[in-house]
Amino acid sequence: MATDLNQQVAGIKEDYKFGFHDSDANYAFKSGRGLSKAVVEEISEIKNEPTWMREFRLKALDTFQKKPTPRWGGDLSTLDYDQIRYFMRATDRQGRSWDDVPAEIKNTFDKIGIPQAERKFLAGVGAQYDSEVVYHSLREDLAKKGVIFCDTDTALREHPDLVREYIGTIIPIADNKFAALNSAVWSGGSFVYVPAGVSVDVPLQAYFRINAESMGQFERTLIILEEGAHAHYVEGCTAPTYSSESLHSAVVEVIVKKGARFRYTTIQNWANNVYNLVTKRAVAHEDAIMEWVDGNLGSKLTMKYPAVHMVGKGARGEILSIAFAAAGQHQDTGGKVVHAAPHTSSRIISKSISKNGGRSSFRGLLKVTDGAKDARSNVVCDALILDPASRSDTYPYIEIDEDDVKIGHEASVSKIGEEQLFYLMSRGLSEVEASALIVGGFIEPLVKELPMEYAVEMNKLIQLQMEGSVG
């Protein structure tokens, strides 16, 4: 898998690979810049939403406007809410097959390689192009079993009761400023529903992409696994490079019911001017297993801490996080686990790499509530710093209100060792190649958890980040 980085990246340019963009003059609808009640109402109107959703949005807007911008984490002082376009739709139709998708948009996806990926072993592809999903498919036998995989707007039209029952229950409107913002202007995102006892044995996949300049992307993802269900959802995110700044603020809510198992894998590679402020939270019921695999490259600032709340006895939560901070980037990432029931167990493993003045911060919360007896948790965060200009910090928060617990916490910060470089170079590897190999090895334990094509992509991206970084 990590076997030949170089072969995989042969021919990739040093520039941001996905920095191409389509003209947005042909957009079907574009909201003005900035946010107001009128904009929110217009979004709801265009989508022809039920009244309760319009009210949900308006309440959220009110909350957003009242809440102050967070002062912790990264620097948000240059984020100008008035310069953002909160809604834009590239096409009025939603394609069912690849042929129905407009040529310009298809061109973009071709560059990323979505149809090829689908042809392989993907259960369904939901590709989000700006605010609305333009293309969607799901393997027929899964649909027959009652599995729903569609964009959240479609879900609101076709399965309104399910959406209404669960939306905002895991991450309430008032959870934080950006969750409120998302609740006010959300558009698209994935909706996954897996009925009791159904196993989806191939990954469900979505690909998100911000295209238009100063375009906010506020997808809303809602995932429900009924008792004993199994599924794996995978998303990749890529945005073209623009000079002005974009905001990506998603909300992802996951409900994993008794005995169910779910894994959510994200590889994000936003352009270097994107604020990536995402709230992800899962609730794991009795004997349920929830796993977040979270890879963050690119962006100007990422603040993202996938969370698992273990509310049923025997539940398990696992968070694997990889962050790569290059020049001008701050990755403030980590994970949160809350043990709210007995015999629950969790693990957070975080690996970060900082180079060329990049900054990575690990922020983790481990909480055990009173009565969550025999809770077990292990938190490991390892940071690799490639040069003296780069930085890494660790902010672990631990709140334990129960005596009967087993907790482990380890943190390490290392620099690429002179001895390691010398050893590899003495065997014929150039300094860059040696560094890339060391970095690849550092993240290997996490990369091997990824589905094959994502592992390849991850290695490509890391290699790309490494080129020309040393010497």
Binding site: D4, L424, R427, S430
Partner: protein, 279 residues
């Protein structure tokens, strides 16, 4: 191997942290020859090997070391490897997450194709896999070994065997074995030595064995023996030198070379101070 190469070290001076360790050494090794380099702790043996391979902490203050006329001291360590130089480390570094196979494929791709540009294709996986399987068999290594992370959690014997595996697939013109026998039991010394002999016979490798002990030299038989003392070569000879050191120790060397003995004492004192400071 087409043309026979020559490694020529001339008046080499090396300092570490501003302190001169090697004070002008000369040595010529031809392909196919086996040389042994002996000397007490701190005499400069490892300094010579690290300086030749290009470790950044070893500062060359004078002299040169050429392979077929090209001064390798001017080259980066990876370029030295491509020029045909190999160092079997006394303490190989571990590289977590990087498998032996992946690492070796990168190494072989560079060393066998010296003109390869960064990011260009690696040697074909199929041929490479076949090759390292065969070499691991020869060294009595389990095939699983290729999938382990490089030197991570390896026993002393496994580390040394891994070094010889690298020697076998990289096929250098010259190999320096830096105390390859240290920390090995007698069976492991034999297995590793047989591996070295097999590679040397096949590729006509010029070998420089650095050691404290006679033991490894009963398996890898040197034609030339050199004694390094106080940062200089003080005696050159054949296998009989090994016997004499084994029987008499270094007292006669001290007596015969008083100036070198003075330097040796200085180096040893500095060494002791450094250890005291770090303890």
């Amino acid at each position: 191997m087409s043309m026979s190469k020559v490694l020529r070290i001339e008046n080499l001076r090396v300092a570490v942290a501003g302190k001169e360790i090697l004070r002008g050494v000369d040595l010529t090794v031809k392909q196919g020859e086996v040389h042994a380099l002996m000397g007490p702790n701190g005499s400069g043996k490892s300094t010579l090997s690290y300086a030749l391979m290009g470790h950044p902490n070893y500062e060359v203050t004078g002299g040169k070391a050429t392979i077929d006329g090209v001064d390798v001291l001017e080259l980066e360590p990876n370029e030295r490897a491509k020029a045909g130089l190999f160092l079997a480390f006394q303490y190989p570094t571990s590289i977590p997450g990087v498998t032996v196979a992946n690492f070796l494929r990168h190494a072989v791709s560079n060393v066998r194709n010296p003109d390869r540009k960064e990011g260009e294709e690696l040697i074909p996986m199929r041929d490479f896999r076949k090759e390292i399987r065969a070499e691991m068999d020869e060294l009595g290594m389990d095939q699983q070994f290729a999938r382990r992370y490089l030197n991570e959690g390896f026993s002393g014997g496994e580390k040394k065997r891994a070094e010889i595996l690298q020697l076998a697939v990289l096929r250098p013109a010259f190999a320096i074995l830096d105390e390859t026998d240290s920390g090995l039991d007698i069976d492991a010394v034999r297995i590793v030595s047989e591996g070295v002999n097999r590679v040397a016979a096949k590729h006509s490798t010029g070998i420089l064995v650095i050691t404290h002990y006679e033991r490894i030299l009963t398996y890898i038989k040197p034609q030339f023996v050199h004694i390094l003392y106080g940062g200089q070569f003080v005696e050159h000879g054949g296998p009989e030198l090994v016997q004499r050191l084994e029987a008499e120790g270094y007292d006669w060397v001290r007596a015969k070379h008083p100036e070198a003995a003075r330097h040796e004492d200085e180096l040893e004192a500095a060494d002791t101070r450094a250890q005291g400071a770090s303890a």
